[in-house]
Symmetry: C3
Subunit: 441 residues, 3 copies
C-alpha cells in the first residue's frame, strides 16, 4: 500500500493556523489552570481532543503535580494611583505562578520582585517561579528605570490551590499499533512562536491526518512543558514502547530556517528521515546533535525511556532575541513559515508511512521486465532513464534488509521515484512487503 | 607457499591479443547462433574451452532461452537496384535478431525500421530486438538523410527457430576448491572494445594461468550478455558458493583509464584488492560504487546470489562515444591498453593468491631475529630498513586475524615487500599459514 | 569516590628530577651489570624499589638472558703513549658489551672496530653489540680522521661472564587489583633524554602516587630495553591480564612537543585518554599510530600479549639528531619539559582514576534538581550555565554504557567539569557507580 500525502488540500492553511494563533494569543496560560483549559477547548473546535486532569499532589516520577494556579488581575500603582504595570495589558507582566498579594511597599522593596531586560529596554521578559513560592512582575526596563522613589501599591489577584494539571491528547488509530508521536507544549502565555505556532501546526496536522488512511497510528499530545511531559510519561508508561518515531513541535512560525535536533539515539529512523527531507528541499537548514536541554525531547530521551523522539523547529529555543519576551508576538510569526513547516512535517510523515522493506519475489537474476511492459523495446542504448534505474535498484536491494529510504539514498534517486517504482513492481507481483512485527494482521 | 605471477613471460602478448580480436571482428555474433559457435571454436585454438548448448525454450529463472537466430545476408536496394545498405559490408547494419523479410515498400514505411545516430552522422549504431519479433536496419545518418522517396527492396535472409544458446567454459583446478571467476560477454557482433577485448584478455589470462601452480581454482565463462549470464547461473546454481572472488571483464582495450566497479557487497575482498592494485600503480583510475546497471555483475550481484563479483574495465559501458557504434572498431583498441589491462588483472590475481593469513609461531614478545640471520649486527642506529620493518609488522599482526594485505595497508609497505617478508619468516619457522575452510587438505 | 591529582605539591619537582638525572648520568649502564645495580640503588633513596636478579642463561621466550657485562676501564693509546680515546672521559667511547682486549695493532686493523658519525664530527655515537661477541670503540669523527698511521695500543678491562640481569620493580596496591603499568628502560649509559629522563619521571611519579589513595593498583618497572621487557614478561606472564592501561616512558625531557604512540589495539582506553589530555592542553602534540618499532611497547604489544600499552614521549625515538649520541647530555634535557611531561602523566592518571561509569538512579525523566538545591530559582532564561549542563549531560548519559570521558566528549564539556558534576550528583543520591568486575569489594 502506498500512502500519498500531498499538499494540494492545504490551501488557506497558513491563514487558518495564523487565525488560531491569534485566537489563543491573549489567554494567560501556565503549567496548570484555566488558561490551559480554555485553550484546549478552542482546539476542540478543530479536532476531537480528549482532555485529561491530573490532581495536584499526584506523584510523577521524581516530581509531584503542583497546585493549580489561576490569576484574574494584577497591577502596580504608583503614589498617584496610576497603574504603571497592568496584567490586563500583557499577561507577561506577571511572574508566572505568583502568589496573591495586596500591599504597599517602598520602591527598594518592590524592586526585589521586578524583572526587566536592560539590553532590550522596550521588551517585557517572560519569567516563571513554579517551584519557589513568591511573587513578582516583569516589565520593560524603560519603565523600571523611570520609577521614582516612593510607595507603590502591589496587587495580585491569584490563587495557588489544590486542583489539577490539564493536558489534551488525540489518538488516531492506523493499520498498525506502531505509533508516531507528536508533542507540543501549550503552557506559555502570550508567546506566539514559542509555542502557539507548534500548537497550531499540530492541531492542523492532526486534522489533516485524520482524513487519511494511514499505516501508523498517531498520538498528539498538548501538555505543559517539563512537568506536563513528565506527567504524561508517568501516566502512559506502558504505552511508550509503541512509539516508533516522534517529534517535539515548537517554534515553527518564525522566519528562521528549519532545525532538526536529533534524538538521544542519534541513529533512529527519525534521525535519518528528517535530515533527508531537509536535504532534499532546497532550503537552508541545520542539524543539531541531541543535547539534554531544550524542549521535552529531554524527558522522552531520558535514559529510562530513550525514545526515538527528535525535535523539528525553525529557530532553536534560546537562539533568537525574541525568545521568551513580549517581542514573540503576532508580528513575529509568518504564514509562509507556518506553511513551510507544515509541509516539511507532512513530507517527513510521507516517508515514514512509505518507508517499507520489500522482498524481491524473483531474487535470482533480474526478472524480465520487458514481458511485463516495464521495459523499452529496443536494446543497445547508452543510458537508462531514472524510472528504469529506480526499478533496477529497488529489485536489487529488496532483500528484506533495505528500506525504500535506504534504496533512495544508495541509488541517489529521489524517495518519491523509488516509492513509485516499488508501487509498480508490487503491482506486477515482483515485490512484496516484508511483514513487520508491528503489523496488526 | 608463495605464488609469483610475473609479467616477464608476456612479451608479445599485446600483439597476440590484438590478432585474436582482429580474427573475431568480422563474425556476426548474437546471443545465440553460429557466430557464437564459430567464435568459441577460434578460442579453442588457444585454450581447451568446453562448449555448452542450452536448448531454446529452457526456463532459466524468470526467463526462457530464446529461439536461435542465424543470418546469412541482408540488404536494402533502391529503385535503381543499388544496395544502399549491405550486411556484407558491416554486420552492424542489421537490427540484431531481425526476422526474415523480402518485400518492396515505400520510404515512409521503410523508415519505421531504420536506426541512425543524427549526432554521429557517419557511424552505424548497434541495436537489438531480442524479445520483440520485428526487423530493422541500422545505418549512418548521412545515408538515411540522403534517401530519395521511392520504393525500396528489403531483403533479410535470417532464421529464428528452435535451436540453442551456446556458451564456453574453462575450469582450472587449483589447490583448493575455492574459485576465482572471470566472465566475459561474447555476444556482440563487430564491436572491438565491447567486448572482443574482454574475450581476448580472458583467453590469454586462462592460457597464462593454466601454466601456473595456483592455490585457487579458476573458472572462465564466455557467454552472451544478460540471458547468457542468467542461463549459466541457472545451470550452475549449486556451484556458485565456491566463487570467492569474481570479475566481469569488458572494455579492456580502449585508451581510457582503468575503472573498478565494486560488487554489491561493497566490502568483499575483491572490492579491496582491485582498488589496492590500482592505487599502487601510478596510473589514473576510477572506483565506482555498485549499480544494478552495466555488465553481468548485475546478475551475479542480484539479491538471490549477491556474489563477490565486481567489474574491471577501462572506460565504463556507455561512457565513451564509440560505445555500441561502428566506431568501436580495430582502430579503437590499443595493444598497450590491452597489455596494461592484462598486467592489472595479473596483479590482482597475484594478491588474491598470496593474501593469506598467518600465525606467528612465537607470539609472545619479538623472536630473536639476529640468531636466525634476519637482523643486522650492531645496535643503536636510528632507523630500520623496510625489509626489517616488513618482518616486524608481519610478526606483530600475524595473529590469525590479519591477511598480508591487511598488514601491507596498516604498515604502509608494499604488498610485495610484505609477501617477501612472510616468505622469509615462514622459511625460518616463525610463521605458519592459518588453515582456511576452503583448503582441500 | 573522586580522586583529585593536583600539581600543587610538585613545586621544585623539576629541580629534583634534574638532579637525579645528573646523579645517574656518569654511570656506565648496559643491559646487565653493576651500572644498572648502582643506578637502581640510587632510585631506592626515593622509592622502595624491589631489585630482581635473573641468572644468565635463563630462557625467556625465544631469547636467553645473556652473560653479565662489566667494565672498569678502556682506552686507545697512540705510539707516543697518549690516550686518544679514554673510557674515563665518556663511557659512550666503548662499544657496549665489548670483550676484554689488550693488544697492539696497526691503524688499518683498529679502524674495523671504530665507530663515528661523519655528519656530526664532534659527537660520539652510542653503539652496542649485545649478541655478537666483539669489541669496539666509538669516537668523534674529528678524532678518527686525525689518527696518523702507526701502531695503537688497545685496552679494554671488561668481563663477560655468567651473572644476572637486574631490574627494579615497585607495586602500589590500590582499591582494585586492576593495574596501571609504567615501564622505563634504564640500560643506556650516559644518555640523558633517552632515558634518564624517563627513569626520573617514573621515580617521582611513583613517589607522588604512593602518597595518594587510589582506585587502581600501580606497577612501575625499570628494566633494560628489549631483553629486560622480555624477561619481565616471561617472569610475570600470569599477572599481565591485570594491566588495564600502560605506558612506556622515555624521552620526556627534551624541548620537543609531546607525542603519543598508540597501543597495538588502537582503541584501548589509554589510546583515548592520552589524546584527550593532549588535546585539552593548549600545547602542540602529535598522535602516532602503533608501529612494531620503537620502545618496549613492541614487546607488550606483541600478538601473544596485545596489552593496552602505548608510549608517551616528547620527541619520538630516532627523530632528533641528539638521539643515541653524546649530545644527549645534561644540556639537552630541560627542567620545564620534565615538569610539563610529569603534569601530563598526572592528568592522564587523573582521568583513568575518575573515568567511571555511573547509573542514574532516577532514569525516567529528569529528576527535580531544584528541590535538591542544584537548580536556580527563576525559570525562563535563555541559556544554562556549564555546571548545570554538566549535570544534565551526566544524568542523561549515566545509563551504565557511558564513562565520564564519553560524557565529556559528547557534551564538549571539560572532563573536570563533568567529574565535578558527577561528584555532586553522587552526593545527592542521583548517581551511583556501576560496579566493575575488577573491583575488590
Amino acid at each position: 500500500m502506498t500512502v500519498n500525502l500531498d499538499t494540494k488540500s492545504i490551501d488557506g492553511l497558513g491563514q487558518e493556523m495564523y487565525n488560531l494563533i491569534a485566537e489563543l494569543y491573549p489567554i494567560c496560560r501556565s503549567i496548570t489552570g484555566n488558561g490551559v483549559r480554555q485553550s484546549l477547548k478552542i482546539l476542540q473546535q478543530h479536532i476531537p481532543l480528549e482532555m485529561h486532569e491530573v490532581p495536584s499532589g499526584t506523584p510523577v516520577f521524581d516530581w509531584t503535580v503542583p497546585k493549580e494556579w489561576n490569576i484574574r488581575n494584577a497591577y502596580i500603582k504608583d503614589e498617584t494611583g496610576k497603574k504603571i504595570v497592568d496584567f490586563q495589558e500583557s499577561n507577561l507582566h506577571i511572574l508566572n505562578y505568583s502568589l496573591p498579594i495586596h500591599q504597599k511597599m517602598p520602591l527598594s522593596q518592590l524592586k526585589e520582585h521586578l524583572f526587566s531586560m536592560p539590553d532590550r529596554p522596550d521588551w517585557i521578559p517572560y519569567r516563571t517561579s513554579y517551584y519557589n513560592e513568591t511573587w513578582g512582575f516583569c516589565l520593560t526596563d524603560r519603565t523600571l528605570q523611570s520609577l521614582p522613589e516612593g510607595d507603590y501599591e502591589v496587587y495580585i489577584d491569584s490563587s495557588l490551590e489544590a486542583g489539577s494539571l490539564t493536558y489534551g491528547e488525540l489518538f488516531l488509530p492506523g493499520q498498525t499499533e506502531d505509533e508516531i508521536f507528536l508533542f507540543c507544549h501549550e503552557c506559555h502565555p502570550s508567546l506566539c512562536n514559542d509555542n502557539l505556532s507548534g500548537v497550531a501546526l499540530v492541531t492542523f496536522l492532526a486534522k489533516y491526518l485524520s482524513q487519511q488512511s494511514l499505516r501508523y497510528s498517531y498520538r498528539f499530545v498538548f501538555a505543559p512543558a517539563t512537568i506536563g511531559a513528565i506527567t504524561w510519561l508517568s501516566q502512559n508508561e506502558n504505552k511508550v514502547s509503541r512509539i516508533k518515531h516522534g517529534l517535539t513541535v515548537a517554534n515553527v512560525g518564525d522566519p528562521g530556517h528549519l532545525t532538526y535536533k536529533k534524538s538521544r539515539r542519534g541513529n533512529a529512523d527519525i534521525d535519518r528521515v528528517v535530515p533527508y527531507v531537509l536535504k532534499a528541499s532546497s532550503q537552508n537548514y541545520e542539524i543539531a546533535d541531541f543535547s539534554p536541554y531544550g524542549y521535552d525531547e529531554r524527558q522522552f530521551c531520558s535514559p529510562g525511556f530513550n525514545l526515538p523522539v527528535g525535535s523539528l523547529t525553525r529557530s532553536q529555543f534560546g537562539t533568537f532575541p525574541e525568545y521568551h519576551t513580549s517581542a514573540d508576538n503576532l508580528d513575529f510569526v509568518q504564514m509562509s513559515a507556518l506553511v513551510n513547516s507544515f509541509e516539511t512535517y507532512l513530507s517527513v510523515i510521507d516517508i515514514l508511512e512509505n518507508n517499507q522493506t520489500y522482498l524481491n519475489t524473483n531474487p535470482k537474476c533480474e526478472p524480465q521486465l520487458g514481458k511485463r511492459g516495464l521495459y523499452s523495446m529496443y536494446g543497445g542504448k547508452q543510458t537508462a532513464p531514472s524510472d528504469r534505474m529506480a526499478m533496477l535498484w529497488t529489485l536489487n536491494l529488496s532483500d528484506g534488509e533495505h528500506t525504500l529510504l535506504d534504496i533512495a539514498e544508495r541509488s541517489n534517486l529521489n524517495f518519491s521515484v523509488i516509492k513509485h517504482a516499488a508501487s509498480n513492481l508490487e503491482n506486477s507481483g515482483l515485490l512484496k512487503v516484508c511483514s513487520s512485527s508491528g503489523d496488526k494482521g
